[in-house]
Symmetry: C2
Subunit: 166 residues, 2 copies
Amino acid sequence: MHTLYRDTVRPEWVDFNCHLRDAFYMLVYSFAVDAFMDHIGLDDATRRSRNRSLFTLEAHVVFLHEIKEGAAIRVDGAVLGVDSKRIHLYMEMFSDKRHEAVSASEQMLLHVDMTSHAKSAVFDPDIAARTSSLRSGDTPTGRYAGRVIGLPFVARPASGSGTEPA
Amino acid sequence: MHTLYRDTVRPEWVDFNCHLRDAFYMLVYSFAVDAFMDHIGLDDATRRSRNRSLFTLEAHVVFLHEIKEGAAIRVDGAVLGVDSKRIHLYMEMFSDKRHEAVSASEQMLLHVDMTSHAKSAVFDPDIAARTSSLRSGDTPTGRYAGRVIGLPFVARPASGSGTEPA
């Protein structure tokens, strides 16, 4: 994992309990993806000169611990997968108070050509090479990746029925 | 699906292209979950009097279309599953410009007792009954639910190798 981003939980990000609101975990990850773009060579100047950017197709966020206003936070990341146009990025968030992650996120990012209407585009070779260098490689990572949200559907027993799904 | 929330894309929510930034889709869903709490009887007064609330354990967001600053947005939702302490809530976001959804989210919400350190708690019967009334029932829903993020791991061809995964 590579450290992508550091920040401090801002007053406007917390709820009435002074805890970071769920959507603002996502904003911190959004800033970390901006920093990730710098890491792979898609910095602001390159994005403008080549008319390229990354769009988020999908984001999954796991909330493991609350974070208080004023807490220092850090986001580490690694590339779990990549193809010609897409990156599967995995991130974990840490706060100054805990050793273990306070949150994790995985995102599918699409490389787009902004010239017309943001069409998907193949990575330039230099960007692809830098992206590969951020791959998690042989180190196991992505502890909170690949998750599905679901609950067993607990049916209300029909009148007169003696059976109910466990 | 039940309409949970309506808003307008605010200037402070958009990126330099005047499109809603990914994290602010999540903020709109966060407001929609607040409204969902009202729908199931966990309104602010009840949350305070009973010391109960819902915490987001996990959130998945799919980004289908861009939304411009100033666009009217609506979030519809339905309960996909529920157990004694948790709700699997599914939501779709619509904008005034399109008939189809511009985004979808599914979230796992935990019912907590805020008296001490936010321990999980069984739903009160009135809340459980109102939650069940928002179940999607027999109508198929959750088109964008149950998704896993992943990419086939495309290995860089070894030097001298003529084969590469498709």
